[in-house]
């Protein structure tokens, strides 16, 4: 009856059925009564209203019955929810970084990906981390959702029960590209998962370190490498070009050299590129090392104008 | 519910003005209430840092200001009993005294704030930014709450000044002094809020 994509689906869906079921009974019953009264006691058919007699017992009756019903609803809501808060000790920990506007998932052995890859029938614990604003990790098929709050170590967990690929959506408004902050969770068989988990990182062979880093740090959520304008300016042809920036509201022309790029990363709001919003890019000082900045610059240098 | 219901023919209803004033005071209380809630939660989350930071505030300054405000509450209460006894002159003297206490309070506050700002503790200043987590919050709340309170002192003083002007014009009399009473209520509320601000900011170590 239930899809059972995760171990929570059944409890949640039972709660849905019970609450919506009771609600439907009331909705249909009350609507039917309304229509019935309007027809039966229409003033043509029933010209003289009967005087109202208050009925205390009736008042008690229709206070107590709904109270019992809603307490029942609460109970099933709680039962379906409780397992979500009891995290098994053996759950596989994955560190989730939610950032405007992309997800990244890091595993215990340092493996990193923008997709969430998990084995079937094994509990997985997600440690949620956000450097900028609120986000919310939502996997509809699994019936789980928890906000990612800067400064607060929220956790969630689930146990996938069916192999397949499911949507991950961001369910807390986080700015311009909120609706594009999507990812997928891939549920693999234990064997495939282990194969993936233990495989050597092939990325390093294909990409420059700066490029990988840019993916990990989710710079590419805001900066393209092909010249198209996203939230931030494109990196294409940036190096060595003339950039018009606003410093405290005053226009200035600057050559995009090493120093400028470094400053743009560590203190992006001191020199704001004209035509782009201030305050959107987070201050990366403390999160990115000198070496990493060098790698960025090396990579940006390769993105020349054609 | 032992209140009398006045018919709409009566044009002046002091009881209504008083109820209106009290209702307004409730909104003021809850305005500060929101800040007290923030204070309580943050104190709970950062209790050591709060105690540390509170050490920077001068208990002496705080105590003097508490006494000043309590005394100003007394003088305004006395001014109302003076007008009830048809002694407009004494009522005015008491109100002037209240204003003088308000001024002393503000001068005191000025020196206190300048000292803090001199130490770079105002939000956004360099020293403020280098404080350990929690202490910054304390000073932020300190400036926000005492600032808002000082703003209320000013508003209350203006209210009292208006009352003095009305007394001069004999618009407030023994039979019609509800405006003065309302000014008193407002002033006492400002006092009550300080009564809580004082221990919360100055007395916790």
């Amino acid at each position: 009856m239930f899809s059972n994509a995760s171990s929570f689906v059944e409890g949640v869906d039972i709660a849905f059925f019970i609450i919506i079921g009771i609600s439907l009974v009331f909705l249909v019953g009350i609507t039917a009564a309304m229509i019935y009264f309007v027809i039966k006691y229409n003033k043509k058919r029933h010209p003289k209203a009967e005087p109202t007699k208050d009925n205390f017992q009736l008042e008690i009756f229709w206070t107590v019955i709904p109270t019992l019903l809603v307490l029942g609803m609460f109970y099933y809501g709680w039962v379906g929810y409780r397992p979500m808060r009891i995290i098994p000790k053996n759950a596989i920990p994955v560190k989730v970084t939610a950032k405007m506007w992309s997800w990244s998932f890091e595993y215990e052995n340092g493996k990193w990906d923008s997709l969430l890859i998990v084995p079937v029938n094994k509990p997985v614990k997600l440690e949620l981390f956000s450097p900028d604003v609120l986000h919310s990790l939502y996997i509809p098929a699994f019936r789980v959702k928890e906000d990612v709050v800067p400064g607060i170590a929220n956790v969630m967990w689930f146990k996938a029960q069916k192999e397949g690929t499911y949507n991950i959506l961001c369910a807390e408004y986080c700015g311009q590209r909120h609706s594009y902050m999507l990812s997928k969770v891939k549920v693999l068989s234990q064997k495939e998962y282990e194969k993936w988990y233990n495989a050597k990182d092939t990325l390093a062979e294909k990409m420059m370190p700066g490029e990988i880093l840019m993916k990990k740090q989710a710079c590419i959520a805001c900066h393209s490498t092909d010249g198209s304008k996203l939230v931030g300016p494109s990196f294409k042809g940036l190096y060595g070009s003339k950039v018009t920036v606003l410093v405290n509201g005053e226009k200035k022309e600057i050559i995009a050299d090493d120093e400028y790029i470094k400053n743009s990363i560590l203190d992006p709001n001191s020199e704001v590129v004209e035509g782009f919003p201030q305050g959107i890019m987070t201050n990366y000082s403390g999160q990115i090392s000198e070496d990493e900045i060098k790698q960025f610059i090396e990579y940006i240098k390769t993105l020349k104008d054609d | 519910m032992n209140e009398t219901i006045t018919s709409h023919a009566v044009h002046r209803d002091d009881e209504a003005s008083k109820i209106g004033m009290w209702l307004f005071l409730f909104t003021e209380l809850l305005l500060f209430g929101g800040l007290f809630l923030v204070y309580t939660i943050y104190r709970h989350l950062n209790s050591a840092a709060f105690a540390n930071a509170a050490g920077e505030l001068s208990v002496l300054f705080g105590t003097i200001n508490t006494i000043v405000l309590i005394t100003s509450s007394l003088t305004i209460a006395l001014s109302i009993s003076a007008i009830k006894n048809n002694n407009a002159k004494r009522a005015k003297i008491m109100l002037w005294l209240t204003l003088i206490f308000a001024l002393i309070f503000m001068i005191n506050k000025y020196f206190e704030w300048s000292a803090k700002i001199h130490h770079g503790l105002f939000p956004g200043m360099e020293h403020f930014m280098s404080l350990p987590p929690g202490e910054g919050l304390f000073f932020l709340l300190y400036f926000f709450m005492t600032g808002l309170h000082a703003f209320h002192i000013i508003a209350g003083s203006i209210f009292i000044a208006v009352v003095i002007a009305q007394l001069n014009k004999s618009k407030i009399t023994q039979d019609d002094y509800v405006l003065q009473e309302n000014a008193g209520l407002y002033w006492h509320l400002v006092d009550v809020i300080w009564i809580y601000l004082f221990p919360l900011f100055y007395l916790i170590h």
Binding site: G11, V12, F16, F26, L27, I30, F37, V38, Y41, K43, H46, A49, P51, T52, E59, W62, T63, F74, G77, W78, V79, R85, V133, P140, V144, D147, G151, I152, A171, E172, Y173, Q176, H178, S179, P277, I280 | I5, T6, S7, H8, D13, E15, I19, G20, L23, T27, L30, L31, F32, G33, G34, V38, I41, Y42, P123, G134, G136, L137, L140, F144
Partner: protein, 533 residues
């Protein structure tokens, strides 16, 4: 004006107290202030409606249809801000409350008429500030009407201005509530005890208490956001040891009670209309009166249900869930008593009753889906999805909105002394009602399928229901335009309605239509109504 002859009484408040714009802008007459509110609210409501329709148009297909993502985000924020702070919170209390609170209790005005005018000016100033973001500065806020930190502190758009507007509007709302409370305490006609008050007054009384005690909290919270933006560091900044979730607590401490500011007056209106059109006394008068107070009080205790997935502690989630379910009980009591009043009455299905029954049906759907929101397991799935959007449009628009329309059709003859076309009003109701359901019901399905809210773009599998919903929005507009055209025509050319066209029981029907400046020709004395025709 029309040339056709009118038999309106000459001494009505439109004629007395001066003519011309200035006499309106300086009036302290509660009836004129009520109308001032109505006209200004109608203007802002239309702006927000157009924004709503544009959003629907954007959502008809995935990808870009008519606007950019950043425009869409500003659009739903402004739509929400206007609808909440400019339309639905002041809606019934400021328009019908101002006009009818004194009339229902036989008073000549509210307790503080000048303060009343000031509330209106604050309202207009707040509205002007809110709308100014459209024209000036870096564009209107793009945070959603909830202004959640830290995004509201980081974004480059004009959040401070929007937030300040909400602050000013809050003050307007507080002063209105203060005025009504004092009026109800002090100005009832001789002979009218607390339990003789019409039920609308009870609901206004409860509403006003919420306005007084909850609004200051949002006021101060919004000031904190402004301070945080101005100083660059702030109270919700985790690097200082702050906590972004605390912002949500403060926001919802106000904004949940605020949803009862919205619905209680509508419930009061329905409690006035049902007895009149069933020709009998309200069943369970006291139960309804007390349930208003109960909703107001329990309403303070449930704000956490907006934060079930925010990272709140486990026990808090459980407590808030239980309390949320308890707040449904007083609403249930009201619904059952309304039904019991209809039972064995002599029902006359005039437009006001039709709108009231529409209210009950739509509020039922909205309220019952509120229960789905309130349970922990189900909330986890549907929080921040289209399901929530469906829920609150049903309660706010289907509930309060229809309550507003019911009040308009009920009290219209008293306000203007004329009657609208009954047949057209009935027809407009059905178009509106059907359009409404086609527009908003699909949102429940979308939400259950996992479509998040505030999404500019969406996965293609959601498109089917989005299209249905957009088509519904066009039907709804048609119905509403029919309704307003009929009302406006009625106000200008309708037949004189007489003092008491509906055979009402309450005191406003004792005076002439429209009422004279001082409301009653002689100082009225309250007599218990007899419900015999």
């Amino acid at each position: 004006m029309s040339t056709e002859q009118t038999a309106l009484p000459a001494d009505n408040f439109f004629n007395q107290g001066g003519k011309g714009l200035m006499s309106w802008l300086t009036t302290t007459d509660h009836k004129r202030i009520g109308l001032l509110y109505m006209y200004s609210i109608a203007i802002f409501f239309s702006v927000a409606v157009i924004l709503g329709l544009l959003m629907r148009l954007e959502l008809i297909a995935p990808g870009k249809t008519i606007m950019e993502a950043s425009t869409y985000n500003k659009t739903f924020t402004l739509h929400g801000v206007i609808m909440i702070f400019l339309f639905i919170i002041p809606g019934i209390p400021a328009v019908f409350g101002n006009f009818f609170v004194p009339l229902l209790m036989g008073a000549d005005d509210v307790a503080f008429p000048r303060l009343n005018l000031m509330s209106w000016y604050l309202y207009i100033i707040g509205a002007a500030i809110a709308l100014s973001t459209l024209v000036f500065g870096e564009g209107s806020a793009d945070t959603g009407w909830t202004f959640y930190a830290p995004y509201s502190v980081k974004t480059g758009t004009n959040v401070s201005t929007s937030v300040f507007a909400a602050f000013v509007l809050g003050f307007s709302s507080i002063l209105t509530g203060l005025n009504f409370l004092t009026t109800i305490h002090r100005m009832r006609a001789p002979g009218m005890g607390w339990f003789d008050m019409p039920l609308y007054l009870w609901s206004t009384y409860a509403t006003s208490w919420i306005q007084i005690l909850a609004t200051p909290i949002i006021g101060i919270t919004l000031l904190m956001i402004i301070a945080e933006r101005a100083l660059g560091v702030g109270l919700f900044d985790p690097s200082l040891g702050g906590d972004p979730i605390l912002y949500q607590h403060l926001f919802w401490i106000y904004s949940h009670p605020a949803v009862y500011i919205m619905i209680l007056p509508a419930m009061g209106v329905v409690s006035e209309i049902i007895p009149v059109f069933s020709r009998r006394r309200m069943f369970g008068y006291k139960a309804i009166a007390f349930s208003s107070l109960a909703i107001a009080f329990v309403g303070y205790l449930v704000w956490g249900h907006h934060m079930f997935t925010s990272g709140m502690s486990g026990p808090a989630r459980i407590i808030f869930s239980i309390l949320t379910f308890l707040v449904a009980i007083p609403s249930a009591i009201k619904v059952f008593n309304w039904l019991a009043t209809l039972n064995k009455g002599s029902i006359d299905l005039q437009p006001p009753l039709l709108y009231s029954l529409g209210f009950i049906f739509l509020f039922l759907i909205g309220g019952l889906t509120g229960l789905v929101n309130g349970a922990l397991a189900t909330n986890t799935h549907i929080h921040d999805t289209a399901f929530i959007v469906g829920h609150f449009h049903y309660v706010m628009f289907g509930g309060t909105g229809f309550g507003f329309f019911a009040a308009m059709h009920y009290w219209f003859p008293k306000m203007y002394g004329r009657m609208y076309n009954i047949k057209r009003a009935t027809r407009a109701f059905w178009v509106t009602f059907i359009g409404f359901n086609i527009l908003y019901f699909p949102m429940f399905i979308l939400g259950l399928e996992g479509m998040p809210r505030r999404y500019y773009d969406y996965l293609p599998e959601f498109q089917g229901w989005q299209v249905v919903s957009t088509v519904g929005s066009w039907i709804l507009v048609t119905g509403l335009i029919m309704m307003f055209v009929n009302i406006i025509r009625g106000a200008r050319k309708g037949k004189p309605a007489g003092d008491d066209p509906w055979n009402g029981y309450t005191m406003e029907w004792e005076t002439s239509s429209p009422p004279p400046l001082e409301n009653f020709h002689q100082a009225p004395v309250f007599k218990k109504p007899t419900y015999e025709d």
